[in-house]
Symmetry: C2
Subunit: 340 residues, 2 copies
DNA sequence: GATTAGCACTCGATGAATATGAGTGCTAAC
DNA sequence: GTTAGCACTCATATTCATCGAGTGCTAATC
């Protein structure tokens, strides 16, 4: 167990290192107001903290820097996560509300806002449309050989795709098919739509059966396309200001990783569902993010579970501030009503 | 006027420098098979070329590197632009054709392909929907307070926006409005749509005038949103392999610039309409691209003018290869029929 | 027993001095 | 007009000494 003083010192080392990105030495610490011990005393405690694996030295004659274990301890014991600053949250809410009544714009704004507040990079995953329910499906001929399939959900989400016919479609068949599908499928979650269309087709025997089935296929194929949830990146260039990313060796993997939209989406979707979760350094298991920490949280908007937002910074990130801002943003989103 | 030998030397210097990114000296050149002169002779010609501003030396004891003027001369006189390799073009066409019948996917593929072929970064601007003509407009209520405005064009392009009502909309008014708008506006170019809606509204006197006008406004506001043409980036990480972008000072402006989608779009749209145009170094007038050259070209797809594609590399880019590949890609696109 | 002063020691960072070598410009010979 | 020869330049790499922040240990002090 750590003594009171060791705790103070650990906290001081991490706070200091977070600010300066420089190893911190015993003399520097002894000059702080909240640490009125001699540098020798601090050195002794530092040696203990090092034995416990909480801090480490880059080399003999440098100061100490926190280890990942140290950060973990800091985050788990020394960062208070639950305190919501009502005023600040309200203020954030105002800034979000001002932006839009459309959810996609709102999420983008939230991502930008969070990265502005923290100077880290943020990634926000929008609503997964698979849970949306079908409001209307439509097939609209453009000319003899092409048409547009439109799918609108109860949340106002729209998917569309241009399709090509082998032969002209009879307008009445199109209309009939569309009406039929709408009657049968309204309210179906998008995720089940493809399956459901298949079921409906098999139940049927109609005139124009052939054309009918062909259209069904077209529509089905539209639904089948993997429509990834919308992804927003905020403050990508913040990374350039981080001292640990001033060399290509560190910068390149990060930038390459963050530009890979699909991988990013998969990663965000794979995160455990929690309110606020901090993953430190190599904990996240991603090689490109070895030297990064991530604060993630699911968020709700207007009462409904919506998506995930993540904040990525160097391992030496300001966890206290980051966690607080994250908390305020998701609280502000939670309180935001879509219909203004 | 340049002598035959000076031309040979200029070409050799540029070819060599493009390959190695190192200043090239007289001794290196004299060892080439196609330059059977002594290093002293070459030095004399180099001095002349330098006087003409075609090459320059980074410092006294280094070799020569091409100046922007030199590159300009090289591109204008020593790169043949019109030769299309039928086989290669056909092959590219096949690779594109395999990908999709949907234009947006196709453009994305073309951008990726071009960056794969050249190892430079490419940017492609999709069709500008402002020229598309309205095929259908629709307003679809989701619940009492929200609806989706849908706009579909003759090219299969879809725009949509969620709108909020103050009060519930009567279904028959909605239907009436939509029918009216479709009758009047079908075939209108998207760019003029907003204006035209305004005109139509002012001509009218109907029951439900108020709700009617309100809807019109909603639809108008949807159209008014600046919907940028679709933009695709290919091979962004190629920049990491360029020796001139191995330091943050050079890399950062480039990456920050290329990530700014809106600015990129404006820039591409502002380019002069031409088949293939090469802009060298500071010619492009963009600070972030001081040390870059750009090969741009408008392209057509399936006969219709479509958009712009650009290839961005260091000033020391392989112009010959770049221009050739660009030519092949736009030729392949031109020959691609959308309906497969 | 806990704290602190004192001191030898470590080791990265900084900077001056030096060596290296690729490349040039000029001159004189071919 | 071309080439060999040579003095000169200058960025780069290397070596070496110095500096100083920081440590660990020991002995004195509270």
């Amino acid at each position: 167990m750590l003594t009171e003083r060791q705790l103070l010192i650990l906290r001081a080392i991490i706070d200091d290192y977070i600010q300066t990105a420089q190893p911190v030495g015993s003399r520097t610490l002894s000059k702080r107001d909240d640490l009125s011990f001699s540098s020798a005393t601090i050195r002794n405690d530092m040696a203990d903290l090092e034995d416990l694996g909480l801090i480490e030295k880059p080399h003999t004659s440098a100061g100490r820097i926190p280890s990942e274990v140290g950060y973990r301890y800091y985050v788990d014991h020394l960062v208070e996560t639950k305190i919501i600053d009502e005023r600040a949250t309200y203020h954030l809410g105002e800034r979000l509300r001002a932006s839009a009544q459309e959810s996609e714009v709102l999420i983008r704004q939230a991502a930008d806002l969070l990265s502005d507040l923290t100077n880290y990079t943020t990634v926000a995953l929008g609503p997964n449309s698979q849970m949306n329910r079908l409001a209307r499906i439509d097939l609209m001929p453009l000319d003899e050989r092409r048409g547009v399939v439109l799918i609108v959900t109860d949340q106002g989400h729209v998917e569309h795709r241009t399709v090509v016919f082998d032969s002209p479609m009879a307008p009445d068949v199109v209309e009939q098919t569309v009406r039929f599908l709408n009657n049968r499928l309204k309210g179906t979650p998008l995720g089940q739509l493809k399956l459901r269309i298949g079921e409906e087709v098999s139940k049927l025997h109609l005139a124009h059966q052939e054309q009918f089935e062909f259209m069904m296929q077209l529509i089905q194929s539209t639904v089948g396309v993997h429509h990834p949830a919308s992804l927003y990146l905020g403050g990508k260039k913040n990374i350039f200001n981080q001292p640990e990313f001033q060399t290509l060796d560190t910068l390149r993997p990060f930038l390459e990783w963050i530009d890979e939209q699909e991988r990013l989406t998969d990663w965000l979707e794979s995160l455990p569902n929690r309110e606020i979760y901090v993953s430190i350094g190599s904990e996240n298991g991603i090689v490109a993010l070895q030297n990064c920490s991530v604060i993630t949280s699911d968020y709700t908007l207007d009462g409904q579970t919506f998506g995930t937002i993540a904040m990525i910074g160097p391992t030496r990130m300001d966890y206290r501030h980051g966690v607080q801002m994250m908390g305020q943003i998701i609280e502000a989103l939670r309180r935001t009503k879509l219909e203004e």
